[in-house]
Each structure stands twice: as C-alpha cells, then as structure tokens.
Symmetry: C3
Subunit: 140 residues, 3 copies
C-alpha cells in the first residue's frame, strides 16, 4: 500500500467491449486498492447500431457471457478474477442453482487464488435476463 | 493511507435528519477509509412524534428522498457522492427502471467525479416503499 | 496499516463447522484489511455423511444459526462482529421483519462497537430457507 498517493484517485473503468451504461453509472470504479464492478448481465460485446443483446435466451449462454463481462471490467481496471473477494449473483429462478454452479465451477477451473466469497439470491430482472453478477476486488 | 492510525476506529454515522434505526444497526459506519451507508428508503426527515413517513406514494418522490437520505449519511461521515464507488439499487417493479434512471441521471447532473458503479435488482420491500439504496464510499 | 505487506495475500477462510461450499467459492475471503463473509444460511454445523440441514423450519432457529455461521467465518478470519461494517440481510417474507429485528437486537445486545450498517430486502431463497446474511468486515 505504500505506493498509493495520499489522496487516491477515483477512476471510471469502461471496457471497450461494453455498451454505454443506460444511466449515470460506471461499469467499474477503481479507487485506491478497491475495484468495484457494477452488475453485469449476459449482453454480447457492444456493436455500433445494435441495442444491448443477450448472448442467448438460455442460462448457459448468459452465465458465460456475464462472467466474461465481469472479467472485461476487471481487466480494464488492472485486475483479474484472482483479485476478487466477493461475487454477488442474482438469479431469477431457484431451479437454476445447480446448473449455474456447474457453469461457475467450470469457468473457474483454472483459478490459482482462493475463489471469491459469494452470495446468491433470487430476484426479478428485466424480461429475458436470467442472471446478473457484480464483483468486489481488492488489489495490491 | 500513510496518515491512518495503526488501529482505525469504527464510528457510527447518524445524520440529525434520520429516525433511529428500527433495530441494532447504524445508518452508516466509517472505519479507516471505508464508509458504508445502510439501505436508505424514501422517508422524510425525522420529526418528533411522527412515525417514519415516505416522501410520497410515487416513485419520483421516493427516489429523490432516498438519494437525499444517502447523501445525508455520506455528509455526516465526512464524504459525498463524489466518493461513492458503488450504489446498490433495489426497486420493486421492472416497469420503474426507465423513470428511475431519468431521476438518477438528473440527480447526478452536477457530479464532477466518475459516477459510482451500480447494481439494480427487483425485490420485495415493505408495503408502500418502492425503492431502497445503499452505498459504499472509499475516502482518502 | 503500516504492517501490511506491500502485496497483500488473498486467503480463503473456512470454519471447521462448515460444509464445503456447493460450488467454487469461499465461505470467507481475507485480503489486506478486508474480510468478506459469503452469504450464510441457517444450516447446522457440518456432520460427516449428513447433507446441509437447517437448524429448524422456523425463523428464530434459522436466524440464530445464520448469525452464528457468520460469526464462525469472522472468527476463522481473525475478526468478530465488532469489525463488521455492513450486514446484508435477505428475508423471504416482509411479515418476518419485526421478529427478525427482535432476534437481531437480542443477538447483538453485548456488542461494544457501533453496530454494522445493514440493508434488508425480500428475495427468493431455496425451499425451506427463510434468511441469508453476508457481512463485510474492515480490520486494523
């Protein structure tokens, strides 16, 4: 921590793959050794002239894309999943828990650091979206 | 960070405008360079002898009051929205998303720092309440 | 903070009382002065050959066990409730709020530090579970 400036700078983190947020928030924010990733959903990388488009209607497509989208924000903020201490998972259906876990475990098969803590709850999301994930990383 | 004491003090943050919390929790907690604001709803400033009263039955009244209530806690903790890295937004109805975003953007029109990251999900709240927001600020 | 190593280590926190997580996540993660406790539910201490078993079907049993489970993770990470700045509470029924608060207040009757901030929302949880709680502690 000794190389942090006395007043740490707040930086917005915006991966080139992402659509502009639909409101005045940042996809990620870095301040000091904290990197907070905003709630990500399973939208495909942004494409000029195309509205936000989910990777697919199914859980597997959306979970893989959501995790990739969190990863893009982490990378744009100088971090990786190895630095994440907490992932918050929002699913829409309790029946998705087992499949979600299988997808999650497969995605993190290569992780070399201890996995993040996690909270999983079941909420409402906009129509067509099955999963949302945000993440807190501690760097340094 | 070099001016932090070796053992940082945990302080409860209680704005004078707020009713006492309905249970053993703090409206805000400051420890080291972290300021956590508890979930705020759209209740009007506390008034002797009046139970907690929402600013209005409608989304706009409650969103503006909720954001003001978060701001009061931030201010009482020596921070402002400029220091917030994450806002968690709980709405009760997906149909409120567009109007919520318009209100949110208007509220933050003057923000000079990058806006906070945000996660928005749809949950249940006590009857009459349409929105709840909490916030994590990193100071220093 | 002066005794933190320049690169802080990420450590998984696993209390001996806990079942293995059902997926690739940690019950708690410590990095630098941050300790994040994953979402805990009201399961009894793990017992060889027994699947995860809630302390009871009722709110009181589950709330007491959930708070004890958060405490176990805090303790295994070198912390206590005194260090917690934020508790996130997920209930399944708005009608449980008053009883939950009474249980929460009783549990924290002896707390000597200011209580944590808190957000309480109503979500879906797996069948039979009435409460989930996670916690963020700041140490040092």
């Amino acid at each position: 921590m000794s190389d942090l400036p006395e007043t740490s700078v707040k930086t917005a983190v915006t991966p080139p793959t992402h659509n502009a947020p639909p409101a005045k928030f940042s996809h990620g924010v870095r301040k000091g050794n904290i990197l907070q990733v905003a709630g990500q959903v399973g939208n495909l990388p942004a494409q000029e002239g195309r509205p936000p488009t989910p990777a697919g209607p199914d859980l597997a497509s959306q979970v893989r894309q959501t995790l990739a989208n969190v990863q893009s924000v982490l990378a744009a903020g100088g971090a990786s999943w190895e630095d994440v201490v907490m992932a918050r998972v929002y699913l829409t259906d309790v029946a998705h828990f087992a499949e979600f876990n299988a997808l999650y475990d497969a995605y993190f098969a290569e992780l070399t650091q201890p996995p993040a803590a996690r909270t999983t709850v079941y909420v409402g999301l906009p129509p067509g979206l099955l999963v949302e994930i945000d993440a807190l990383a501690v760097l340094g």
